[in-house]
């Protein structure tokens, strides 16, 4: 058998160390010839033990994948440059359309005019408050949706009658635009914060629950069996096997849940306007419309987009990457 030729003859201690630093065993394999004569002289039994340890260390070293992370500059060039180019391109086209006077100025302002409108809001000192109003509402709504959607998803995923009963409704709800709930919520709760949160929850809960259901459905049955064998049953099974195994699907559900929260929130703020509700980004947009102030309208749209994307990029994307990288699912 080939095994006698391929074994790098490392002494026991070295062999054990080689496991921790795989790269070091490669040079030792070169010394094979010199060391082989020595081992022959030693007692056969001890040599056999050392041989096995050394052989094993060698196999481990040959077979170990070194997963090095892509350096930041390369990552930036690969990931950040293309969207940047795209943005510049869009701005260029926009400016060109403005310069060609395709539409009157009050309908199609230039990028600079939109910038000025936003800058004016900035100097009024209100803009951060407006953004915070919406973001804090979105975050609170999302947190509540998380608390409701997670147990709901778990129930639907694991309890067959529950799944048969509300599984289809839940996925159906996901395709219902949550704006549709706004009139109903206004009738129920009037022009209050409750209306806004109701709409946000109705938008986000189905996404989060469905994400968890999809995550649970994609669990390798082998992991569930392994968990059972180890004694992870009942709540311990959920805590130690089911939830961590479903995490990738769950996180994409959360991501989508956030997108739905944000969308629903904007719809609600846009329609349900009242002085008691304060000024959020949706309200800013509505104000712009009522004054026929196109630069402000476009500016508000831009802010809504930026906040939505920003939170996804700053919070959800890193968490998702981390989870996937730990499982070796990234590249």
């Amino acid at each position: 058998m080939a095994s006698t030729e391929t074994q790098p003859k490392t002494a026991g201690a070295e062999g054990a160390e080689a496991t921790t630093a795989p790269a070091t065993t490669v040079p030792t394999a070169v010394e094979t010839g010199a060391e082989r004569a020595e081992t022959g002289a030693e007692r056969a039994e001890a040599a056999a033990g050392n041989d096995l340890a050394g052989l094993e260390a060698g196999l481990d070293a040959l077979d170990t994948r070194t997963t090095d992370r892509t350096p930041l500059p390369v990552l930036l060039r690969r990931k950040a440059l293309p969207p940047l180019v795209a943005v510049v391109l869009v701005l260029g086209l926009w400016q060109a359309a403005f310069a060609l006077h395709l539409k009157p100025d009050y309908q199609l302002p230039s990028p600079l005019m939109v910038w000025d409108a936003l800058a004016e809001e900035w100097y009024k000192g209100t803009i951060l408050g407006v953004i915070w109003q919406s973001v804090s509402r979105g975050a609170l709504g999302f947190a509540v949706a998380l608390l409701v959607g997670t147990p709901l998803g778990l129930l639907v995923a694991r309890v067959r009658p529950v799944r048969a009963a509300i599984g289809p409704i839940l996925s159906g709800l996901q395709s219902l635009p949550s704006v549709a709930w706004v009139p109903a919520a206004i009738i129920w709760f009037g022009l209050t914060d409750a209306t806004i949160y109701a709409v946000v929850l109705l938008g986000a809960v189905p996404s989060i629950a469905n994400g968890l259901v999809a995550g649970v459905d994609r669990i390798d049955p082998l992991h569930l069996r392994a968990g059972k064998v180890l004694g992870a049953t009942g709540l311990r099974g959920i805590r130690h096997v089911l939830l961590p195994a479903a995490l990738p699907g769950y996180i994409s559900g959360l991501k989508q849940g956030w997108a739905f929260s944000w969308r629903s929130l904007m719809a609600a703020e846009l329609i349900a306007t009242s002085p008691e509700l304060g000024v959020g980004l949706g309200r800013l947009l509505e104000t712009g419309r009522s004054y026929q102030d196109m630069p402000l309208v476009l500016g508000a749209i831009l802010l809504i987009l930026l906040v939505g994307i920003g939170i996804e990029l700053l919070i959800f994307a890193p968490v998702e990457r981390r989870v996937l990288r730990h499982r070796g699912l990234l590249r």
């Binding site: 096995l52 094993e56 196999l59 994948r65 392994a226 070796g328």
Partner: protein
Amino acid sequence: MTVTTPIPAATRIAGVSKTFGKQHVLDDITLDVADGEFVTLLGASGCGKSTLLNLVAGLDTPTSGTVEVPGGRPALMFQEHALFPWLTAGKNIELALKLRGMPKADRPAEAERLLELVRLKGAYRKRVHELSGGMRQRVALARALAQDSKLLLMDEPFAALDAITRDVLHEELTRIWSETNVAVLFVTHNVREAVRLAQRVVLLSSRPGRIAREWEVGIPHPRRIEDADVAGLSVEITEQLRGEIRRHGQH
């Protein structure tokens, strides 16, 4: 050829049958594995070996007959490592320790000891995907040993490994078995592997699975898979196995 095993048994399988729908997979299996004994279960593909192990592991219940495991929940090692990819190698072992009820403070040291036992000192922080196939199976073995059960069930645990790695793991398994006095019920369809490892080889026939014959393996350790003694007995067993398979071609 059959021996009556002494009373302290790691598992007692008595008159076990299993049917899936109309398919009769196992028929009247009676098999005892004594404490500290190493038994390999040999049989053609689809004869019900995994089904039998699942019954012993308590993952499924027999249609008739009884399975007793006096020493508590047995450990089970699968053909795929079945390690949890969201945990490091060390944490996988620690989870088994935790579920067995070991206090938190004792777990890291015990996990290190088990990793050392499978010669993976220093792999504690490695993620599962960073380990080679052989290393994963060794971590899986360490995790199974962490359950500290008296019976270790192994379902073709080395079938997906290359020949050299498998050879090394045979040696390690023999060493660990002799160091830990755990009883092993090892499933394989590789005759030489069965003879190389076991004190007793049990041959299952197919459709339905019945115990066709048993062999005591008297060859002293250390054994190697290419030893003449191992090869000799393997030829005999292979003949019998082929006979069992041929019977199915005749009708």
